[in-house]
């Protein structure tokens, strides 16, 4: 072994900061305590996220069901007709005005859409948080 390699082998480093081992011991004890109680910040976040998932999916499904149900009811009761072509070709503005008239079914439809959107955005928010 030549001189340089011998010197590198004995390379002296900087002094360890005072209290480093105590800080590590404290952090390790904290982790150990979390393991003992079975909780951790990451675990809490995961559980909260799972809870939100459980809430978001029913909200989304209920919202879609209510929205679609209300629309089907409007079609079935003759309150509305399925005429997609006419919306594009003629009288489209009038149809929008008619649709916007206050009615119980419109309120149900609105509530359904709101629920569906709430559920959808709750899911997206959770997905973004996990990234």
């Amino acid at each position: 072994m030549n001189t340089l390699e011998s010197e590198l082998h004995d390379l002296q480093g900087p002094a360890v900061p005072a209290g480093l081992s105590a800080t590590i011991a404290s952090r390790v004890a904290h982790i150990d305590a979390q393991h003992q109680t079975g909780s951790s910040p990451a675990g809490d976040d995961k559980r909260a996220a799972t809870g939100r998932d459980r809430l978001a999916w029913p909200l989304l499904l209920v919202g879609l069901s209510v929205g679609l149900g209300a629309q089907i009811y409007r079609l079935a009761s003759g309150e509305s007709t399925l005429d997609l072509l006419s919306v594009r070709t003629a009288g489209s503005l009038q149809r929008v005005v008619d649709l916007a008239q206050p009615s119980p079914t419109l309120a149900v439809l609105g509530a359904g859409v709101l629920l569906a959107l709430t559920g959808l955005f709750a899911l997206q928010r959770d997905d973004l948080r996990r990234l």
């Binding site: 002296q12 360890v16 982790i31």
Partner: protein, 204 residues
């Protein structure tokens, strides 16, 4: 490959085997088993044994005292959390050094982005530090200071390879695993480092 692993770095091997003497290996194994068995106090033995070496390594990598302290702490905490992943038939130091190197690389990457954004210098002591810096407190002679500063002035991969291979006595394969590069790259790092260090130390 030889039973001892690929160790042809172009330079002689340090005298320690994997940076750990046999007595140390036995003591470390006992401590690891004790920690796994629920005796968390035994982890303190591992901290006391390796904190100096690990802090020197992270200090050399980050060239930032607070950063090195943070990374050293995180390395021990992560080692504690993942002690079940450690294979006690292998030396402990290369395992924890790998953890520390990865954390230091993350630290450098994170702070590199921050310093770019803020315009602050990431490595204020890239240039040779003053001999009276607290960082050098343990280095007792001028030659030691000069050597430390010369190694610290090397590019990141080279200075880390020098510390792990020469000072810590790790095998080339283990150094390569720690750095996330091939053994050939480690040998190149060591070759270039020796060349630069000879030039730096021999110049007046």
């Amino acid at each position: 490959m030889s039973p001892a692993g690929d160790d042809n770095s172009g330079g002689p091997r340090p005298s320690t085997a994997d940076g750990e003497a046999s007595v140390e290996i036995a003591a470390v194994r006992r401590a690891v088993l004790a920690v796994r068995g629920g005796d968390k106090e035994s982890f303190g033995f591992l901290v006391e044994l390796y904190q100096q070496r690990l802090f020197g390594l992270t200090m050399m990598m980050t060239r930032h005292r607070e950063g090195a302290e943070e990374v050293t702490q995180d390395a021990f905490v992560r080692a504690f959390s993942r002690l079940h992943l450690y294979d006690e038939s292998r030396p402990f130091y290369p395992w924890i050094a790998t953890v520390a190197v990865r954390l230091a690389q993350n630290w450098l990457s994170r702070h590199g982005r921050e310093s770019k954004r803020t315009g602050a210098l990431l490595e204020p002591d890239r240039e040779p530090a003053s001999p009276i810096e607290p960082v050098d407190a343990l280095i007792t002679d001028e030659r030691g200071h000069q050597l430390w500063r010369s190694v610290a002035a090397l590019p990141s991969g080279e200075r880390t390879a020098v510390v792990l291979y020469y000072r810590d006595g790790m095998k080339v394969n283990d150094v390569a695993r720690a750095l996330g590069v091939t053994s050939g790259t480690v040998k190149t790092f060591l070759f270039r480092a020796r060349k630069k260090l000879r030039g730096a130390l021999e110049s007046p």
